[in-house]
């Protein structure tokens, strides 16, 4: 007989194994779905997960797509590790893009080495300003940061709408909702001729290294971890909780803002209504799939990025509806949460004959 027994302590091996298990289960479930829809499962999975990255261009697109996801997820991991539920990275990304785009537009007809640093800095500051709202409301007025940060996403999108339709719209653009194109000096440099992958990837990698250092080598990281386990313990230990809440939100906002900068000064080159296809929300999946660990997040962002590319390829070559990409993202999260059960419980074989 098999009995389910509670573990004395969550298993560390299982902790890092379950994301892999979740991806594996997603592939199986995906294959079954493809089969039910009338597609050959293995061929469909091949077009979904292998064909899109089979050449140099495809691989560069994967990195391009994973960059903002990784950057935002790293920022979010600061919040999530310390029990701060910042759901509004999409808003912080949008506001960062607005502020940095505003600076880029000021210099739309100028060239100069000094423009890009200002544009990048403006994006980080924009994200920080926007993230500080839920942080300050939480620390001083005890509001729920989940609600505040989420609602602010919609506010930021409306602000962007207003700006690109009205005051910032391209004067030569027949009133269509978009701004002028930024000057070349406000664009992130491309890494390779003919590919879209840009210097923003270094921002993401820097964030990975810095976060690893902070999490595992600093007192702040230790404080975050303790607060994550138990706020009461953190208080008892005398940690300055309020300061930390604001700090992690600022870090998270800066990362999201920089992701926004990467989009508008990288592949897009202007502001318009759709700066981000909900990277801020997808990054939440990435953060958890990566177990809030910097290296885990790198892998998770690549896995989730490929669901986007795969969905396009599968529709082009096999006429599989593109929205299956979202189904895959949902399944990964579902299986991850479900397999977390194994963290706290284990199966025990009991000999009933005795």
């Amino acid at each position: 007989m098999i009995k389910i027994v509670k573990r004395d302590q969550p298993s560390k091996a299982i902790f890092f194994f379950t994301p892999v298990l979740a991806i594996f289960l997603t592939l199986i479930a995906g294959g079954i779905i493809f089969y039910i829809l009338g597609f050959k499962p293995f061929e469909a999975l091949k077009f979904f997960f292998i064909v899109p990255i089979a050449d140099k261009y495809g691989f560069s697109e994967l990195l391009l797509k994973a960059t903002p996801l990784c950057l935002i997820a790293i920022g979010l991991s600061f919040c999530f590790k310390s029990n701060n539920w910042n759901i509004g990275a999409e808003g912080q990304l949008t506001f960062g893009a607005i502020v940095s785009g505003g600076v880029a537009l000021l210099f739309y007809d100028q060239e100069g080495f000094y423009i890009l640093p200002m544009v990048i800095l403006a994006g980080a500051i924009g994200g920080m300003i926007y993230a500080s709202i839920p942080a300050i409301l939480k620390t001083y007025f005890n509001t729920n940061e989940i609600l505040v940060s989420l609602m602010l996403v919609y506010v930021s999108k409306l602000i962007l709408d207003y700006l690109v339709v009205g005051p910032w719209s391209n004067p030569e653009g027949f009133n269509f909702p978009e701004t002028r194109q930024f000057s070349d000096s406000a664009r992130l440099p491309l890494l390779f001729e003919g590919l879209r992958i840009h210097a923003g990837i270094f921002l993401a990698l820097a964030a990975v290294v810095i976060s690893w250092f902070v999490f595992y080598k600093t007192y702040l990281g230790f404080q975050m971890k303790v607060s994550g386990f138990s706020l009461k313990t953190a208080k008892y230990a005398g940690y300055k909780g309020k300061k930390m809440i604001i700090l992690v939100f600022l870090i998270s906002g800066a990362c999201a803002g920089l992701a926004g900068v990467g989009e508008i000064t990288g592949p897009i080159g202007q502001l318009h209504r759709e700066v981000s296809p909900d990277y801020g929300f997808t990054a939440i999946i990435v953060a958890f799939l990566g177990r809030l660990h910097p290296v885990g997040i790198i892998f998770a962002s690549l896995v989730v990025a490929i669901t986007y590319l795969g969905a396009e390829t599968a529709q082009i070559f096999m006429q599989i509806p593109k929205y299956t990409g979202q189904v895959f993202q949902g399944m990964i999260l579902f299986f991850l949460l479900a397999s977390d059960y194994l963290l706290f419980f284990k199966f025990k074989f009991i000999d009933t004959k005795k």
Binding site: Y57, E61, L64, L158, D161, V165, G166, P167, F174, N175, F176, P177, E178, Q181, R196, E263, G266, P267, I268, G269, Q270, H272, R273, E274, V275, S276, P277, Y308, L309, E312, T313, Q315, I316, F317, Q319, P321, K322, Y323
Partner: protein
């Protein structure tokens, strides 16, 4: 035996037809990039109807739906251009810059961008429909059918395309009923059933008994059906979603243009151009008229439709005044395409200001 003969005759005819079509097709492959799902029953749905017409004409087609106007559009376009497609239709305004960028890299692939104005390379053409002609018909119906003399209008974004539609609609309504007022609610979306329904509700609460829309979902006609007021279908024939409310629909009919352009690629006669077709060329189609409309109105609408098609009547014929009473188009003159393309002022009779 007799049946057998007929059958083999028919099947050989079918075979012959297929072979001929295949020979004409010359393996030209067309691709379509959609902003929404093919099942939206609005903008994307109609483009997909057009794509099916291209298939029916014997060409292979591919489509990708739900492509955001973010950095992703460029990748999808490049992938389509790279995978053996000869002509690519990009069916939303936000694809304008990516279309021109990718077109530069693939000079042998033809690109057709809907509703845009940039043709930076010889392999980029643009196309759009004169939907304002359809709105002249809707305005005529609305002005006749309203009892409260308040007509509601759910608009998407304050761009010339939408302003032009509001003006064309209002001018036509005024012509049959000088007392009407057009009230506008800006939804700031092309497709959001929730927001659109809310906007329609707000207009009905303000006394509007006819609702027009320049957004794509069926939520507005359904809200009108519930409230017992009239409405018009947008993009596709929406009669089945609100049989009592919908008086008629303005349909976007892209099929003939798509077939034409794909054939031009097959024949080697494709060239860059800017197309702006209306009722006359069949790009704008008026659906069947509802039986609630009095027969004299129906006759009037039929005649107006024919006159718009032949060019005898123009939607913007002077005298036309703006809200402040300044003359926009002099008596006996019609607005030229340049004026129409950049139209950013309301005509007299429209309430409120254009959001800035």
């Amino acid at each position: 035996m007799h049946k057998f003969l007929i059958r083999s005759f028919v099947s050989s005819l079918v075979l012959l037809f297929t072979l001929t079509v295949a020979a004409v097709a010359k393996d030209v492959k067309a691709a379509f990039v959609y902003i929404g799902p093919t099942g939206d029953h609005g903008w994307t749905y109609q483009h997909d109807v057009g794509r099916k017409a291209v298939e029916a004409a014997g060409f292979k087609t591919t489509y990708v739906e739900g492509v955001p106007e973010s950095a992703d559009a460029e990748r999808v376009l490049r992938q389509l251009a790279n995978s053996g497609h000869d002509i690519i239709f990009t069916t939303s305004f936000g694809y304008m810059n990516p279309t021109n960028k990718v077109a530069k890299e693939f000079p042998n692939v033809k690109f057709e961008h809907a509703t845009g104005y940039k043709r930076e390379h010889p392999n980029v053409a643009t196309y759009a429909a004169r939907f304002y002609e359809g709105r002249t018909i809707l305005g005529t119906i609305a002005g006749t059918m309203t009892k409260s003399n308040v007509i509601g209008y759910v608009a998407s974004f304050p761009i010339p395309e939408v302003i032009r539609g509001i003006n064309s609609f209002t001018l036509a309504a005024q012509k049959v009923n000088p007392n009407i007022k057009t009230k506008i609610v800006w939804a700031f979306t092309w497709y959001d059933p929730g927001k659109e329904a809310e906007a329609a509700k707000a207009l009905i609460d303000q006394g509007a008994d006819v609702i027009a829309q320049h957004t794509d979902s069926t939520a507005i006609v359904q809200m009108a059906e519930k409230a017992g007021v009239y409405a018009f279908g947008q993009a596709s024939d929406m009669d089945k979603f609100a049989p009592k409310a919908v008086l008629t629909s303005v349909e976007n009919n892209w099929g003939p243009y798509y077939v034409d352009r794909v054939k031009a690629v097959a024949n080697g006669t494709w060239s860059q151009k800017d197309t702006w077709h209306g009722i006359g060329d069949g790009m704008v189609v008026i659906s069947g008229l509802d039986s609630q409309m009095p027969s004299d109105l129906q006759a009037k609408v039929k005649k107006l439709q024919a006159d718009l098609a032949s060019g005898k009547v123009h939607s913007f014929t002077g005298p036309i005044y703006d809200q402040k009473g300044n003359l926009m188009v002099a008596e006996g003159k019609t607005a030229d395409d340049g004026m129409l393309a950049g139209m950013m002022t309301y005509v007299k009779g429209v309430e409120g200001d254009i959001p800035k």
